[in-house]
């Protein structure tokens, strides 16, 4: 993986500078176990665009949100904060 992440504070930076913080899910709750278990142990595993949290570990040390296509690693935009825009 060597894609670039558009950090709203630091600009386009290589992905290894960041720590992944999971996707911001809208899982339909309760389809397999229960809400808590799904939240903790199940990922949407989307093939397509999703909102993700990343922590800019070797940069501004802030959490940001990006929209990434998991099939192509195409990142379209980055926002401050931890919530989907």
């Amino acid at each position: 993986m060597s894609f670039l992440i558009p950090c709203p504070h630091c600009g386009n930076r290589p992905q290894p500078e960041f720590a992944y913080g999971g996707n911001i899910g809208d899982d339909p709750p309760g389809s397999m176990l229960d809400v808590l278990s799904e939240d903790l142990y199940f990922n949407d595993n989307t093939a397509g665009e999703q909102f993700e949290r990343w922590f800019h570990r070797f940069g501004c040390e802030r959490w940001i949100v990006i929209r990434r296509d998991t099939r192509t690693n195409q990142v379209s935009e980055g926002w401050e904060g931890v919530d989907a825009p």
Binding site: S2, F3, P14, L40, F55, N73, V82
Partner: protein
Amino acid sequence: MRLPRRDGETIDRDDRRTFTFDGKEVQAYAGDTIGSALYANGQRIFTRSFKYHRPRGLSCAAGNCAGCLMEVDGEPSVKACTRTVQGGEVVRSQTISGSLERDPMRVVDHVAGPVTPVGFYYRLGIRPKAAWPHIERMLRRMTGLGRVGEAPPKPHRADVEHRTAGVLVIGAGRSGQEAAARYAAEGRQVILVDERAEYASLAIDGVEVIAPGTALGVYEGRLVPVHADGLMHRIRAEKIVVATGSIDQPLLFEGNDLPGVMTPSAVRRLVGLWSIRPGTRAVVLAADEAGDEAARLLREAGTQVVETIDLRGVRPPKVKAAARHGLLAAVEIDGRKIDCDLLVASAGRQPAYSLLAQSGCSVRFDAEKGIFAPDQLVDGVEAAGSVTGEGAAVLAAAEGAGKRTFVCPCEDVTAKDLVRAVGEGFEDIEIAKRYTTVTMGPCQGRLCHLHSVRALARATGVGEAALGTTTARPPWQPTPLGDVGGRKLNPGKRTALHDANRRAGAQYVWTGVWRRPDHYGDAAAEIKAVHEGVGLMDVSTLGKLYVSGPDAEAFLDGVFPNRISTLKVDRVRYGIFNTDSGRIIDDGTIIRVGERDFLVTTSSGGVDQVYEAFLLWVAERKLAVDVVNVSGALSAVSLSGPKAREVLSRVTDVDVANEAFKFLDVRQGAVAGASALLMRIGFLGELGYEIHFPSTAAEHVWEALMKAGAEFGILPLGVEALKALRLEKGHIIVGIDTDSETTMLECGMGPMIAWDKGEFVGNEALGRMNERGADRALVGFTADDLPNEGTAVLVGGEVGGRVTSARRSAVSGQVIGLAYVPAAIGSEGSAFELDLGEGRRGGAKVHIGAFYDPDGERMRG
């Protein structure tokens, strides 16, 4: 033979150089490659092939094939045709078992057909099974390219340079140069890369030229590693222009791998760059204008061109090359024999699209031209010149290839082998490739990819378009691991007291990224000092997070399972940090230094995780809290032992009397003149103080405390003493006594949890586990024999847990430790066994609470 001086030659006839080849001295000029110099000196056999040990020689002279692999100064498998002569090299032939001219392993070639067909090693030695180790040893000796010497050459590692480029142009041919000049004129920052040394002196206004430099591949985000002269440039480009051109494809016929058979490009380079006459009598068989150009150059060079056949639009003739003493001696065309020592043969040119394919561009088969050409390009990547397929075309191979018609000379794969593989059911292109190893040799498909796809398409009856191509992956040039491995870096961290520790005789141990003193020569004496006198430990590795703001109290109540809001100013409390699923990831202390100000310490390795989780919690809830990581800014020492108070009193203005500075109290004051935060805690079981101060004062404070403690026999403490002393108290170390599943409930810390305070990290998961009850418990134990850490706990003969820590107590002489046991036996006095190995078992008993000073009188006193 060297020709008289010619225009455009790249050799400098006034600069003579020599190197040795298999012990013999070879004359060369500056600008020669090892391959060109050897050829000029009459050498024709350069190496032997990988499987059949057939003689091989210069066939492309451009670094595309494996005909000239040699060992240069101990580095194996160097392409001699592109390695520039510096002078003084020691060059040796490789992949030979006798000499280049006479190789007894050649017998494999003569008898090979029925004995060693493609994939034979998958079937060989399956039965009897016992034979396999011998066969494997024999195969390993026989195969492979080159060898790594017993005394390997000097460590070869490339430095890495991270760079950006407006436009990166790969390939410095005509199209590449034009593209580079055009973008430079637009004011873009342009880098032009070419692997051929002859472009080293190329100069274009506003263009940085890296030559010879190899673009190893195109990675995500338009990242291109370019290796040049011991330096790895990691170039991140806004735009990439691929101008890698097209590559002469070999003609497929019986004996097409003989030394003396070469491509038109080899003639162009031998004559044009190095002024060498390639042969005396030549036949030219080509399917494009490159054949005419080669014939013209050969005539200029004084080679007699006996016959030129343009293969375009004619019925493909049946061609067979014959050898004498391993070298081409004649060619038979439709039964007509022509004596020659040079056969220039080409089926046409195939675009070198690998880098484009790696960038994500699609490739399609053009049935009319008989080539694979790039189709849909991706954003930010351009193709220029013949790599686009413009002007390129390749003839299909004639039917009925002979048994020595090599589709893939690198791997000795013949046309017959591919037909056989299909017959065995390996019809898919990817598995046929893996089974036959076609295209997997040093040329990486440059010369064999197209022909192998076409041969497979014919054998399977599926068209080339449907069969498709194999996936192009970096690197597209064989690359020494040292080039991509980077320089050996040691990312270890050292505390501000590292030098002071070393002067005190520290023996270091790695703990995560930290180098910490394991002991200072005698761990037992250090333990004794803490129990009887005083010890000083560098604990600067602790993570330190400064938490402040109006919501600080609410924040800490949210991230810790215990209640922090009740913590009074100038007091310290132990805390565990959990994941959302209620598993322990770290522990530390929370120090309240003001109404809205806290210092949180974490374990040495846990600070990054905790810091990130803290910031996430703050951001999610939009709390008015600042979290600042001051781990490096503050150093810390732990002063422990019955004499600690007396030592501390000599260097501080803080009142350290027991009543004034109680257990779990926090004070701010000066220590040896440095402003410091002092807290009274007892991780090591004796009276103890942890002192934090600016790292700039670290050595000064350390020396002052050591000096003040000298009369009490103060000793510096290492990690071993820490581990032993805390075990006496039954304190866990996160990461040693916990694993990724451990919960507070299993460690007997359930009572710490403030269930009624509302949401906190892991509360839901912990709540459920609390209802269900833990099925294992982390308990103390005493035992007869000292087990290793990791020793299995046996309950009723079955494995029921494991030992996480164990030592022989310096106080009681007993074996003490911590272990996971089934919750059912997690009560005081329950007996279990330890699997001590080799059938031995030892008895053990659960012990709840501290082993030493269970009521904590010593640390409170």
